[in-house]
C-alpha cells in the first residue's frame, strides 16, 4: 500500500462515516463534483448521491443549516473552505450550536472542518488558526489533529460525537505529512499524547507545531544531549491538564507552543493551568511561544518568521534549560 497523507486520512474518515451512517452528510462550498478546494471530498458526491451538497458562499447560513439538520437528527459535516471564513459563521457557531444543548437539552451533533494554519504565500485571510476562539465557548469541542492516524480517527470520533465539534485540520500537513497506513493508538478525544518522551523540558503543543517541536527536540538532542518531551494536546477543548501536569512533574520545565496569535489562547491556558495546579513542579518560569502579534504575512520570507520555527523553538528551549 502506498503512503497515506493527512488529507487522505480526512477523505477516508468522511467516506467511512458516510458508508456506516446514512444520517451523515457533507455540506460546504465546492465540495460536490469539484471535490473541495483541497479535494477532501473528491468522488464522494458520486459515491453518496444527494449527501454531498454544494453550498452558496454563505458561511453563516451554512452553519445555520448544519445546526438545523443536526437538531433534526442528521449528522452534518460542514466544510469551511478556509478556517478564516468561519468568522462569517461565528454567530451561528458560538450562539446557536454551542448553547443549544445547555439551553434545550437537545444536542447538536455537527462537525465543522476548518482548514487551518499557514502555508507559504497564503496571506492574512487564508492562514488563520481559530482554535482558541472557539475553545473559549462552552459547548464546543475543539480538536487539532497533528498526525495522519489522528486526522482519521479523530474525524470519525468527531462525527460520532453528539456535541458540536470544531475540527481544525492543518493545511500545511495535508500533503506533506504521510504515514504507511491509517492505524494508530486511537486515543479518545480529550486525551493528549506524549509524542516524544524526555526528561529535561516539556513542550506542550498541538497541530502542525507538534512536528516543529519534534524537530527542535532533535536539534537539542544532537546539540547537548537534551531530552525534550513533546506533548501533543490533540484536542484543545477539552484540554488534558493531567497529562500536561504529569509531564511537567517529570521535567520541571514548560514551553507552551502554538501557531496562533500570542494574546490569550491555548498556550496561555496551558501556562495558566500549570501555574495554578503545578507551580511547585516548576524549576523555571514557564515560557510561551506563539506567532507574532501581527496579521499573518503573505511573503514566505515573512511568513516563515511569523510563526515559530524549529530554530526559534530550540532557542526558547535553550533559554528555558539554562534558567
Amino acid at each position: 500500500m502506498s503512503d497515506v497523507t493527512y488529507i487522505d486520512a480526512i477523505h477516508a474518515a468522511l467516506d467511512e462515516s458516510m458508508g456506516q451512517d446514512p444520517s451523515v452528510f457533507l455540506y460546504g462550498q465546492d465540495i460536490g463534483k469539484f471535490g473541495g478546494a483541497f479535494k477532501a471530498t473528491k468522488g464522494l458526491q458520486e459515491k453518496y448521491p444527494g449527501r454531498v451538497l454544494d453550498a452558496p458562499i454563505s458561511e453563516d447560513a451554512m452553519a445555520g443549516m448544519a445546526i438545523g439538520a443536526a437538531i433534526e437528527g442528521a449528522r452534518p459535516v460542514l466544510e469551511m473552505q478556509f478556517a478564516d471564513f468561519s468568522s462569517v459563521a461565528f454567530n451561528q457557531i458560538v450562539n446557536q450550536a454551542a448553547t443549544h444543548y445547555y439551553r434545550t437539552g437537545v444536542p447538536v451533533p455537527l462537525t465543522m472542518r476548518l482548514p487551518s494554519g499557514g502555508t507559504p504565500g497564503s496571506g492574512p485571510f487564508h492562514s488563520q488558526s481559530m482554535e482558541s476562539i472557539y475553545a473559549h465557548y462552552p459547548g464546543l469541542v475543539v480538536v487539532t489533529p497533528a498526525t495522519v492516524s489522528d486526522a482519521y480517527s479523530m474525524l470519525l470520533d468527531s462525527i460520532e460525537l453528539n456535541d458540536p465539534v470544531i475540527y481544525c485540520e492543518h493545511k500545511f500537513l495535508y500533503r506533506w505529512l504521510k504515514s504507511k497506513d491509517l492505524s494508530g493508538d486511537r486515543l479518545p478525544i480529550g486525551q493528549a499524547r506524549i509524542t516524544r518522551p524526555g526528561k529535561h523540558a516539556t513542550v506542550v503543543t498541538y497541530s502542525a507545531m507538534v512536528h516543529e517541536a519534534v524537530r527542535a527536540a532533535e536539534m537539542l538532542q544532537k546539540d547537548g544531549g537534551w531530552e525534550i518531551e513533546v506533548v501533543d494536546l490533540r484536542s484543545v477543548k477539552p484540554l488534558d491538564t493531567d497529562t500536561i501536569i504529569a509531564s511537567v512533574a517529570r521535567t520541571g520545565r514548560l514551553l507552551a507552543l502554538g501557531e496562533a496569535f500570542p494574546w490569550g489562547g491555548v498556550t496561555a491556558e496551558v501556562v495558566s493551568r500549570v501555574c495554578a495546579d503545578g507551580f511547585h513542579l516548576l524549576d523555571a518560569p514557564p515560557v510561551r511561544l506563539n506567532a507574532k502579534d501581527t496579521p499573518i504575512p503573505y511573503h514566505p520570507k515573512l511568513w516563515s518568521s511569523h510563526r515559530p520555527t524549529p530554530e526559534s523553538i530550540a532557542e526558547e528551549l535553550r533559554k528555558l534549560l539554562a534558567y
Partner: protein, 339 residues
Amino acid sequence: MDDNIKDLDQTSGRDHVRRVFNAMLTARVLENKLGSLYKAGKIVGGVYLGKGQEAVSASMASCLVKGKDVYAPLIRDQAGRTAFGEELIDCTRTYLGSVKGPMRGRDGNIHRGRPAEGMLAMISHLGAAIPVVAGMLLAKRLKGELDGAVGATCVGDGCTSTGAFHEGLNTAAVEKLPLVLTVANNQYAYSTPNDRQFACADLVDKAIGYGVRGHSVDGTDMLACIQVMQQATARARAGEGPQLVVASMLRLTGHGEHDDGSYVDAALRSSELGRDSIEVGIKQLVEGGFASVEEVEQWQDDAAKRVQEAVAIAQKEDGPNPYKDDWMAYSNAEMQMQR
C-alpha cells in the same frame, strides 16, 4: 385582497378562523398579565409582547402541524406559539423562572422552545433561525420525511437588514425548501423607523431578488392573514419553495415592557396600520358569522381563567438551584471541563 377573502370557505374555514382568534385572544390576555407581573416586579428579566401582531402570528402558526412541521417563533409570537400548541405553562414558567419550564432557568422569556417537538428556542440574534429552520427541513429531506412538511418563522422589519436574513433566505431558495418566512413589518425595530432601516419601496419586492414568491397582507386583518398564510403554506408544501410573506401593522407596545414606545409617530398610530387586529378580528367573527359576541366574551373569560391558572402554578414553583444544576454544556459528559 377583498375578493379573495370572500373565497374563504366558511364551512371548512370556520374552525380554523375560530382557532386563530382564540390563540390571538389567549395571547393578548396572557400578555396583559405578563405586563402586570413585570410592573409588579415579579418577572425575572425582560418582557416582550406581541400586541398588534397577533393576527399574523397566530394565522401563520395555525397552518402548521405539530409533530410534522417546524416552527421558529420570534420575540412577538405568543399568539403563534399558542396556535402551534405550546402550553401556557411553558410561557409562565419561563417568564417566572420556574425550574420546571422548558428552559429550566437556563434561558428566559421568549427564548424558549421545544426543539424535539419542532419548535425552536430562539437566540437573540435576528435572522439566525432562518437557516436553522431550513436545515431542519434539509434533514427531513435527507431522511425522506419532507413530503408535505413545511417550516415557518417570523421576523421583523429590522431583521431584513441582517446578513443572516439574506444568507438564510437565499440558501433556502437554492435548496428549494418549503420555508415560509414572514416579515412582520411593524414599522419600528426597537426605536428605528423603516426609513432608517431599508430603502426599498416595499419589503415584498425582495422576493423577486431571491427567486421566491412574495405575498403581501394587511397584518391587522385577521381573515386576510389567515388566507395568505393558508396560501403560502400550501404552496410551500406543494414544493414551490420558500414563500416570503410581508405583513404590515404597527407594534402596539414598546419594544419591551421597559419601553413606552413614545417615539412612535402619532400619525401611524391613528392610521389603518395602527388598528388592533383583535378588534378587527372580533368584528370579522361577528359579521362573518364565525362567532357571536357572547362566544367571544366566553372565550375571553376562559382565557383569563387558563392564564390565571398557569401563572398561579408557575409562581408556586421553585427556581433553579445552582447546587443541583448539572452545569453541563455538553451531552457527552467526557467533554465537559470542570473549570
